[in-house]
Subunit: 241 residues, 2 copies
């Protein structure tokens, strides 16, 4: 079974307050994206990766991330579009031109703490169900607010899940979902929402608490701390977080 | 203006897989609850604290947390009830018997990384609006699932907020909200939901990303890491996280 992973890394990261897009900020001495790609390299189940970056950053990514670290699985480096969905669609077009994958995972470039174990869980889930997303239960109460910052509703937390990536899909299903969304001009907040729009069930699998999305300076500190804990645990031969 | 803080610490913490309730687990060498109470001691705006613990743990909390660390603001130590709301109501009864507070904050005992700055923001907000909750934007996509683990809805993330504590209220409003909920037999997921049930607006103020709720072993590792980063920053004289 052939597995391709699309890495969405075209975001410009306005919340970091830095010149460099957040994808390339250093985390424990290496660009965030290099951590992410290193996990894909380490996952034997993954055959190829298609990375989508901002058009302006194609050379930077090739020269500063992919070449120096020797990421052999990155077969495609594509220029992103206006929205995330446009970017992922460009990666899908690149994959369409190569050997047909059976499964496609889509992962955020700024989730560098993903693990091989989580990737396996998503691959197994997608093989069984066709479309899966890794999620965490909502630990906190979740409310809906209006534009004035007033609470309008307290949601039933037991029904809620916080969604991570990689999201995993049978390739034919994901191609169909993107084609249909494109035809209808529909934009979703994640890839799974395009599959949901087809009326096809999307199933949840357990995510990983450490698999955070690095979007603020606090997240970067947290990621450094989590990496340090993980390395300490690896040294001690215990399971990582 | 007199400010009282109720610390809800009666949870039994089944998710930790330990004998000791999570409130008393060691974090950087001190019980989690001791970190929480130390922040209240340091906040000049806070006059008194009422701590609610499991009935079985009254002696343990007094002897292992309150006495050894000399927390002078803890005027009340109450035995908790069946649900969180019952526990907080017992603390409110204790406060009713003492000097009347103007504002009451309710805080989770297992949020040890709360800061004096956040407490001030909640006090200021409650003074202005009557009822405030600290919240964070939802970084991740949030979905509703059914009992089979299938997605039934992708929510509009822009409207969602993840709710933290301390939640802050004018004392008369909080007493009224609890009296009314008790009369009607209504249970909410947090204190603010009881105020919402009165039809009184609850306003959001920015929470703190580091102000996590420690409910799993991963959270405990994360809290240790965050505390280490905070101490390093304090040493360098820069603002903490």
């Amino acid at each position: 079974m052939r597995v391709a992973v699309i890495v969405a890394a075209a975001g410009v990261g306005r919340r970091m307050g830095t010149e460099l897009p957040k994808t390339y900020l250093p985390l424990a001495g290496r660009p965030i994206l290099a951590h992410t790609l290193a996990v894909l390299e380490a996952a034997a189940e993954v055959h190829e990766a298609a990375v989508v970056v901002h058009p302006r950053d194609l050379d930077y990514c090739r020269e500063q991330v992919i070449a120096p670290f020797g990421f052999a699985k990155v077969r495609h480096l594509a220029a992103g579009g206006k929205e995330r969905q446009d970017s992922v669609r460009k990666a899908l077009e690149a994959l369409r031109r190569g050997p047909a994958p059976d499964l496609i995972l889509v992962h955020d470039g700024v989730r560098p703490l993903v693990t091989v174990e989580l990737i396996r869980r998503v691959i197994d889930g997608a093989t069984e169900h066709g479309a899966v997303i890794p999620t965490l239960p909502a630990q906190d109460t979740v409310k809906r607010v209006n534009a004035r910052g007033e609470v309008v509703e307290t949601l039933d937390r037991r029904e809620l899940r916080l969604v991570q990536t990689p999201q995993g899909f049978r390739a034919d299903l994901l191609f169909r979902a993107f084609d249909e969304a494109h035809r209808r001009g529909f934009y979703g907040t994640d890839e799974a929402s395009l599959v949901e729009a087809l009326g096809v069930p999307v199933v949840v699998v357990p995510g990983s608490p450490a698999n955070i999305k690095v979007t603020t300076p606090e997240d970067l500190l947290l990621a450094e701390a989590l990496l340090a804990v993980r390395e300490k645990r690896d040294d001690a031969g215990r399971p990582g977080i």
